[in-house]
Amino acid sequence: MHQLWLIPLLPLAGFAINGLFGRRLAKPVINAVAVGSVLLSFLWVLKTLSALGVFGGGESVLEQAYQEHYFTWIQSGSLNIGVDFAIDRLTAVMLMIVTGIGSLIHIYAVGYMAHEGGYYRFFAYLNLFMFFMLTLVLGANFLLLFVGWEGVGLCSYLLIGFYFLEKFATDAGNKAFIVNRIGDFGFSLAVFLIAMHFGSLDFGTVFGKVKDMPVESSAGWMTAIALLLFVGAAGKSAQIPLYVWLPDAMAGPTPVSALIHAATMVTAGVYMVARSSEIFLHAHGALEVVAIVGLATAFFAATMGLAQTDIKKVYAYSTVSQLGYMFLGLGSGAFSAGIFHVMTHAFFKALLFLGAGSVIHAMSGEQDLGKMGGLKKYTPITFATLLCASVAIAGIPPFSGYHSKDAILAAAYEFAPWMYWVGVVTAGMTAFYVFRAFFLAFFGEPRWKKAGHDKHEHGKHGHGHGEPHESPASMWIPLAVLAILSLVGGYINIPKWLEPMFKLHEEAPGTEWTVYVSVAAGVIGIALAALFYLVSPGIPEGLARTFSTPYRWIYNKYFVDEFYDALVVNPTVDGSRSLLWRVVDAGCIDGAVNGVGKTARAVGGILKRMQSGSIRSYAAWVVLGSIIVITAMSMAGGGK
């Protein structure tokens, strides 16, 4: 036994302590509990993995999943769902990412949230998130995965709505939860189908059975399962059409955006699809759908990222776009490349967000790129680390993004060349908007001086300093660590490590030129950004004016939110109110019920009129009655 349960339970303990007693605890204690629990968890991961021989580099390490069973969770008939944790190579990667990045971001948050109200609450939620995320990763069956899945959604909801006094924050929280629920709807249906067809939800059992199944006979329902799983993944990982919640989720504190909405939770969908790779490989056409949706998401999100003015929104769309990339990789069959990108993306995107947080911190809460500028000299460390992250995401070799993105694009090229080309364009756009944000923030005139710099509208940074300032050590140390990881992380050979898991698509990309093209696209993107925002800052406005219609569409995110509101939300609400409630419930059903009552009373009214009070009419009734009775009794029973 390696006591895997300790890994998620440590953060849970942190949550329990801070959640229950946090209000009465001093800040250092809260910090110690929150950060310490996650760090301990990280250490326990390291200890466990080393005990399992992961760092020894043995060839056959963890080829078979290592599993622990704790207790039966649900037992009904032949269906037995246990609380089981398992580690295999995929889990090991995810564990490292989650606990590693998680620890860094916890440390960062200590500095970032230092002046916030609800400090203990924040860390409690964050720890709870860690618990659920680790459960998600460790769970050895679909239902336990689902527990983590829903749990991280809950924490996401709580943390997005952390500033619950603000309506936009709680709205965003609700949106995130509900859109995720739509995805979960698909996931749960898939779970039902899996249990129905395999009689179990254990990964081992299910995938073992899948392996033995001939593709032809099972393609129909297997595709259904795969697609439903993907609906779930699309919800969690913000893919078209369910991506709408993620940009709004930036309403949460920045460390949350970094941890949940960039590095870990949103990649759960990728993890889940990769985990279910056996099913997808048996599902005819499902992979294609994954690839196409991923690509479309990557492309459209990138276009939307081009015109955002809020620094976190830029990175948010970038996240959506990058997630699309990962699904493109998965859909192309390069599962390991997808997971690889999960890791590198975790490094640089977490860094981007934390950097953005540092910028925002420096700007005392200002998020609008239009009001930044020239921050280079005020926040040098942030500047440097963000630069690392930006080059990493732009796919410039030899930094981490280059390695993983390249692997995905190569796989896409093999899968369908046109996908590769779209991917390349997207890569160019990615480089462009990332550097656009970078240049706007750190170069040019300090526009905040003009704007007066006395913004307190968000009310969360109550400390108005005169000048932008560098962040404290607890913030910049994680930045630095992540910067290093962003730069060199690409050399952790995840595809090789995962090879035994995804045997079918192990071979490395072949064609050389695809690499150059994609790198070139990144360079062009950076160059264009430099041209637009450093050299001649008038160009963007001119372009916006020239292409006003496309610009307006992009700027307004293609009006997708409005479209959903008009097509789904409003009809549902209005229809429920005016049709179902007022008409069907109050009108028809209750009307019928009350109508029965009214009818009965009306009948009573008629009957009581019989009682006119006049004796003679009473006598007439008696006579009438007797005629009826006599007739009835002489007629009935035959005439004898």
């Binding site: 009581k608 006119s612 009070g613 006049s614 004796i615 003679r616 006598a619 007439a620 006579v623």
Partner: protein, 106 residues
């Protein structure tokens, strides 16, 4: 006019009884004086008595007579009570109009 038979069938008596009964009912339905209405009931009882006596003849039994005797006694008792009730009604309302006694209704 057809020649009269020497004797009448039993059913003629019964028809007479029926006619009288019906006329009693008619009196109850059409008369408005409470006492007349009451008398109509007496007429109905008389009609019933005729039936009893007729059947008694048919069956050659005396029981029918006895029954009609009891009917008479009861009629007498009813008459006493009924008229007393009519008296109280008259005392309170100063009328014997049956339709006026209709305050309790619906």
């Amino acid at each position: 006019m057809p020649p009269l038979p020497a004797s009448v069938p039993l059913s003629w008596y019964l028809m007479l009884s029926a006619i009288l009964f019906a006329l009693g009912v008619a009196g109850f339905l059409f008369r408005r004086n409470i006492i007349t209405v009451f008398m109509s009931i007496e007429l109905m009882l008389n009609a019933v008595n005729l039936s009893f006596v007729t059947f008694s003849y048919k069956l050659k039994q005396v029981d029918g007579h006895i029954f009609s005797f009891f009917v008479m006694v009861v009629a007498a008792a009813e008459a006493a009570v009924g008229l007393a009730i009519i008296l109280t009604v008259f005392k309170n309302r100063q009328t014997l109009e049956i339709d006026e006694v209709s305050s309790l209704k619906n």
